[in-house]
Symmetry: C2
Subunit: 128 residues, 2 copies
C-alpha cells in the first residue's frame, strides 16, 4: 500500500508532471514486468506458460504483476470459451503492442553496451 502523502509519492507525482516518460518508466520498470510483456507477445499467453518460462517466479508474484499490467491497460485478461483446460488468456492491448518495438530497442541497447563494451567518453561526431 502506498501512503498518499509521503515524499516518495509526491516526488513520483512531480516526475509524472514533468514528463510522461516518467510514468512510462513507472509502468514497465518493476521486476518481471517487461519480460512478462515480451513473453506474452511471444505466445506465452497463459498463466502456466508464463510460470514455466519465468522459472523462478512464484505464482503469487506472477499474479500480482499480471494484475498491475492489466491495471495499466498494457494487457487484458480474457476467458477463452472452447479451450481445454479451462481458459484464461492474456493478450496485449494496442498499448502493450506498441511497447514491443521499444523493448526491442532497449534490449539491443543493453546488448551493445553489455560488460562495458563500446563505451567511450568522447562523442563520435555523428552523435552530436
Amino acid at each position: 500500500m502506498r501512503k498518499e502523502n509521503s515524499t516518495n509519492v509526491l516526488n513520483q507525482q512531480f516526475l509524472f508532471q514533468v514528463c510522461e516518460l516518467n510514468s512510462a518508466i513507472a509502468m514497465i520498470g518493476g521486476r518481471w514486468k517487461s519480460q512478462i510483456v515480451y513473453s506474452i507477445y511471444e505466445g506465452n499467453n497463459r498463466f502456466h506458460l508464463l510460470k514455466k518460462e519465468l522459472t523462478n517466479i512464484s505464482e503469487q508474484v506472477l499474479g500480482r504483476q499480471l494484475k498491475e499490467l492489466e491495471t495499466h491497460a498494457i494487457i487484458i485478461k480474457k476467458e477463452i470459451p472452447g479451450s481445454i483446460p479451462q481458459g484464461i488468456e492474456y493478450t496485449l492491448t494496442n498499448k502493450g503492442l506498441e511497447l514491443i518495438p521499444i523493448l526491442k530497442l532497449l534490449c539491443d541497447w543493453g546488448k551493445t553496451f553489455a560488460d562495458g563494451k563500446q563505451i567511450t567518453a568522447k562523442l563520435p561526431a555523428l552523435c552530436v
Copy 2:
C-alpha cells in the same frame, strides 16, 4: 546494500540472463534516473542546474543517482579546467546518448496512452 544471496537478487540475476532488456530496465528504472539523463542531454549538465530543474530532489539523492548512472557508464563526470565557479560537469557517454531516442519513444508512448486514451482490446489489423 544488496544481500548477495537473497531470492530478490537471484531473481534479478535470472532475468539478466534471460535478456539484456532486463538489465537495461534495471539501469534506467529507478526514481529520477531517466529524467536526469534527459535533463543532462538538454544541457543541464551541472549539479546545481539539475538540482534547480528537478525542484523536489534533495542534493543527497541527486548525488546518489548521478553516481549510479556513472557506475553504469551512462554519464561521465569531468572537471572543467577554466570555469567559474569551480567546474564539474556531467556528460552523456555514447551509451547514454544512444539511450535518448529510446527515452523519447517511451515518452511518446506515455503521451499517446495517457489517461486511458486510445486503448483498445481488439488489435487493428496492421499491428498483427
